[in-house]
Subunit: 520 residues, 2 copies
C-alpha cells in the first residue's frame, strides 16, 4: 500500500525538506473569521494578571502588590475574593443528585445534613433525570422546562409552552447556537449596542456576520436612541447588509442601565417596522439596585401589547420574533461553573424551531448540573418550606452587598478628578468615564496603544487590579479638540475588600493624573 515515498533520502535533503515544510495549520491557513475574533474580557489584561498571579505564587519578581483583584469578569464565586458564597439549598440538592446513596442514609443522618425539602427536590429531579450521568433530551429535561414555564408565567402573567424553552450551557452557548442557526454568513447583520458585551462581537466575527452598532448614550443613562438604531439600519441596508436582529442587554452590560417599559416598547416597534428579531439578554434581571428602575422583561412588554386597544399593538404582539435569555451565572446564584441557562422563543416559526432543536442535538445536551441549577433558579424554596429562611437570608444578603458595593464604589469614583460615573441601576459592573490629559494620549499613542488600554495596563501593573478597557466593549476613546480624551473602563462590583479596592485604585488614579499632567 506504500506509494513511492523515498525511504532512503540524503540527510541533507531531509533537513531541507524539514525546514521548508510548513505546518498544515498556520495563521494564514486556518479560518480567517476565527482569527478575527476579539474577546477582551479574557484578553490582554487577564492574561497579564494571570502571569502576575503566578509570579506572586512562586514568590519571584518584585511586584508592588501582593494579590490580584479580579474585577475583569462577572465571576461571583471566584476566590480568593469570593464575592458571593454559593446558595446552600442549591448545593445540597446538587450533592444529593450526584450521590443519591445519601438519600438512603439513615433518616437521622440525612436529616442532620439535608433539610427535607432539599431531599424531596433531589428525589423529584432524579425521577426526571434518571441519572445525572445520562444524556437528557437535547432541549433539556422536561420537568425543568416546565418549571421555567411556570416561572415565566409568575413573572410576566402569561403562560408558556415548554416546547419554546431550551436549556443551554449558559446564555452564551444559547447565543452562539442561535446565531449559527439563524444568520447567513457574509450576508446578514445584527444590531449590537455600543458599549456591548464582547461575546456578541466575537460571535459575529466568528460567523462572518456584520455587526451594526447602535449607540447607548452615557449622558442619557445609557439609553439606546431609536433614532440612531433606525439610522444604522438604513445605513447598513445601503451598504448591502441585511439587518436581521437587534441585541438588547437589559439590565445593561457593561452599563448597568435598566430599560423602562416605554423604551422597551420603542425597541419592539422598531423591530416590527424593520423586521428585526429581538434578542433580549436578561441575565442580570435579578441584579436590580434602584427601585425606581425595576426589571421589565421584553416578553412581558411584548405580550402586554396584545391586550392593547390599539390594533397595531396587538398585531405587533403576535408578530415580533423574540428570544429571551437567562442564566444561572449571574443574579444571586452566580453559579458560572455549572454552565446553565435557558432561552425561550416567542413568535418563532415552527419550522425554524425544528432547526434549532436539530442543531442543539449536535451538542447532545446541556450539562446536567447546569440544568439542575436552572431548576433551582426558577423554582427556589417557598415561604414555609424548611430551606426558605436560609435561602431568603442568603439571597437578600448577596443582593444588598452587591448594591452597597456598587453604590460605594460609584460614589468614590465620582469624587476622583477626571472621573464621571452613572450610579449603577443593575447588573454587576460599573463603567466609569475617564477624562484624561493630552500627555497621556500622546504617551499611549507612542506605545501603539489606546488610551484606555494604557490606563488599565498601568492600573494592573501598579495595583494588581484587573479591569477591562472600554474599547474592549466597543466604546472607543474619544479625542477632544484640546487633545484631552474621554474613555472608559469596566470593573465588576464583586471585589470583597471594597474599601481597599477603592483605595488602591484611587491612589493609582491620582498618580496617573499627576504623571500625565499637561504642561500649559
Amino acid at each position: 500500500m506504500r506509494r513511492g515515498f523515498p525511504i532512503r533520502v540524503q540527510p541533507s535533503i531531509l533537513k531541507r525538506m524539514m525546514t521548508s515544510r510548513a505546518k498544515t495549520l498556520t495563521l494564514d491557513t486556518i479560518n480567517p473569521h476565527a482569527v478575527n475574533v476579539e474577546y477582551a474580557v479574557r484578553g490582554e489584561m487577564p492574561i497579564q494578571a494571570a502571569k502576575y498571579e503566578q509570579e506572586l505564587e512562586e514568590g519571584k519578581g518584585k511586584l508592588p502588590f501582593d494579590s490580584i483583584v479580579w474585577a475583569n469578569i462577572g465571576n461571583p464565586q471566584q476566590l480568593p475574593n469570593l464575592a458571593q458564597p454559593p446558595l446552600t439549598f442549591w448545593r445540597q440538592v446538587a450533592a444529593l443528585t450526584e450521590y443519591p446513596a445519601l438519600l438512603d442514609a439513615p433518616k437521622e443522618t440525612r436529616d442532620a445534613l439535608f433539610p427535607t425539602d432539599a431531599q424531596e427536590r433531589a428525589r423529584e429531579l432524579l425521577g426526571a433525570f434518571g441519572s445525572v450521568g445520562a444524556y437528557t433530551t437535547s432541549k433539556g429535561v422536561a420537568l425543568v422546562r416546565k418549571h421555567v414555564a411556570e416561572f415565566l408565567e409568575r413573572r410576566d402573567g402569561y403562560p408558556e409552552d415548554i416546547e419554546n424553552i431550551y436549556l443551554s450551557a449558559g446564555a452564551s452557548q444559547g447565543i452562539l447556537t442561535l446565531f449559527q442557526v439563524f444568520f447567513r454568513s457574509g450576508e446578514d447583520g445584527v444590531l449590537i449596542p455600543i458599549p456591548q458585551y464582547p461575546l456578541y462581537t466575537a460571535a459575529l466575527a466568528l460567523y462572518n456576520l456584520e455587526p451594526i452598532h447602535y449607540t447607548l448614550n452615557p449622558s442619557e443613562h445609557w439609553e439606546p436612541s431609536m433614532k440612531d438604531v433606525h439610522a444604522q439600519v438604513v445605513a447598513a441596508r445601503e451598504k448591502g447588509i441585511k439587518p436581521r436582529a437587534i441585541i438588547v442587554i437589559n439590565p445593561g452590560n457593561p452599563t448597568g442601565a435598566c430599560m423602562s417599559k416605554e423604551q422597551i416598547h420603542e425597541v419592539i416597534r422598531e423591530a416590527y417596522r424593520e423586521k428585526l428579531v429581538i434578542f433580549a439578554d436578561e441575565v442580570y434581571q435579578k441584579n436590580i439596585y434602584q427601585s425606581e428602575y425595576p426589571f421589565i422583561s421584553f416578553r412581558k412588554a411584548l405580550l402586554d401589547m396584545g391586550k392593547s386597544s390599539n390594533e397595531e399593538d396587538r398585531l405587533i404582539s403576535e408578530t415580533v420574533e423574540l428570544i429571551s435569555l437567562h442564566s444561572i451565572s449571574k443574579g444571586m446564584s452566580g453559579e458560572c461553573g455549572r454552565r446553565g441557562g435557558y432561552f425561550q422563543l416567542t413568535n418563532i416559526d415552527p419550522d425554524v424551531e425544528a432547526q434549532v432543536n436539530k442543531l442543539v442535538s449536535v451538542s447532545l445536551c446541556p450539562p446536567a448540573q447546569g440544568q439542575i441549577g436552572v431548576d433551582m433558579l426558577v423554582n427556589p424554596p417557598r415561604e414555609g418550606e424548611p430551606s426558605y429562611d436560609l435561602w431568603h437570608e442568603q439571597t437578600t444578603s448577596i443582593h444588598d452587598t452587591l448594591q452597597r458595593r456598587s453604590e460605594k464604589m460609584a460614589e468614590k469614583f465620582s469624587k476622583l478628578p477626571g472621573v464621571e460615573i452613572m450610579p449603577s441601576m443593575g447588573a454587576m459592573y460599573l463603567f466609569p468615564q475617564l477624562h484624561l490629559s493630552k500627555a497621556a494620549w500622546e504617551h499611549a499613542k507612542s506605545l501603539g496603544k489606546k488610551i484606555d488600554e494604557l490606563y488599565c495596563r498601568e492600573l494592573l501593573d501598579a495595583t494588581g487590579i484587573c479591569v477591562v478597557p472600554g474599547s474592549g466593549f466597543g466604546r472607543e476613546p474619544e479625542l477632544q479638540d484640546d487633545g484631552t480624551s474621554f474613555s472608559y473602563f469596566r470593573t465588576t462590583v464583586l471585589a470583597k475588600a471594597t474599601d481597599e479596592f477603592i483605595d488602591r485604585y484611587g491612589k493609582f488614579h491620582l498618580d496617573f493624573i499627576k504623571r500625565y499632567q499637561d504642561r500649559s
Copy 2:
C-alpha cells in the same frame, strides 16, 4: 422618536398586512448550512420512539410492546434499562465538591458516608477550583490538566505539556470548536470514514466544509484502505477542494473495529505525505473486548516513530499535526450528562494554539463537574487506597458485562438468516449487515424510504427497539443485480435485558424476512 408609522389604519388593511407579513426567520432565510445538517442518532427513529414512550406513559393507544429499548445512542446510564451504574468514587467526590459542608460534618458522620480518599480528592479539587460555581480558566483547571498529562505519560510512555491539553464539554464540543478554528468555509475538505459517527458530517455541513469520504471495508474488519484514502484525496483536489484533515475513530463507531499499530502508522504516513491533520477520536479506548486487538493511541504511535532508526520516521514524528480526543461519556464511567472530555494537541503551531485558546474563551469554560469527571477518569483510585477495591470491582464488572452482551448479541445476530456481523472488538455498538429481499427494497422505494430506514422503522413499530439505520452513518444500502440489497443498522450493546432484546429483535427479523419474501 416615532417615525411616521400610521397609528390608525383600517382594520381590513391591517389584516392584510398581518397575513402578508412573513416571519423574519423562515427556512428560506436562515443559515442554509444549518438547514443542511443531518443528525441521525437523534433523528427520525428516536423522535418516533419518544412519541411511543409518551403514549405508553399516558396509557393511550395500543402498541404491541410495553417499553422502548433505547439502543440508538451510547448513553450507558440511561434509565429504565440502566446498563452502567455510576462509579461510586466519582459520585462521592462530585457530591463533596458540590456541597463542601459535608467535609466539615463530624468525622464519624462523614467517614461513614465517604471513604477518606474521596474526601481527600474532593479537598484537592476544591483547592484547585475554589468553588465549582466559579468560572475556571477556559482551557480547564490546571490541576486536572496536569493529571491528564500524567495519564498520557503512563499510557504512552511520553511526557506531555499541560498547555497542550484542553478540557472540553465532551469530545463533541472539542471537535466542533476545533473544526471552527481550523478550517475555511467553502474551501477546505476533511476526510471522514464511512461508516462514521454523524457528528462529523453534521459539523462539516454546519461549517460549510467538504466531507471527503473514505471507506471502511466490512470484509476486512472495517479497516480503512490507504489506497482509497489516497484516491479520495487526489479526487478531492481535482474538484478544487483542499483536503486538510483526516478523522479516525479508534475503536470505531459504529464499527467497533480496533486499529493495529501498522494501520495507524499507515494513516500517519499518508497524513504526512498529504499534509493532513489527524483527528484521533479515541473516546472508546477503554471499551476493548478482544485481547488480540488492544488499543494503541495515535499519540504513542506517532511519538514512537521519533525513536525509529529511519530518519524519515523521526521527521514524521516531529511534523504530523495530531489532535487526540477523549471523553468521560464512554468507557466504564459512561458519564454523558456531565459533559466532560479533553483534547490534546501534538505538533500544533503555537500561533494556532493561541487561536484555539482564544476561541474556547468565548464559551467561557467547560462545566466544572465535567472537568472533575475528567480528573476521575485519568486519575482513578490506586491499589491500596480505600476506594480501590470497589472501583476495581465496578469497572471490571461493567467492562465484562459490555463484553458479554456484545458477544452474545453478535452471536445471536449471526445465526439469523440474512444477517452478517463482525464480532465487536471495541466501543459499545454492533453494526450488523442485512441482506434483504427485492420485495423489501421495492416496498421501501414505494414509500420514498431507504431500505434500512424501512427496516429500522418497522423494528421500532413492532418491538419498541430503537436503533439507527446504517445510512445515518453514511453507509448507504447497496442494491445488487438480483434486486436484493445489503444494508446496515447500528445498535448499542447497552440494553440490560439482552436475552429479551434479542428475542424481540429475532422475532421481528424473521417476520420481516417472511413478509417481504421474493416470489420466484
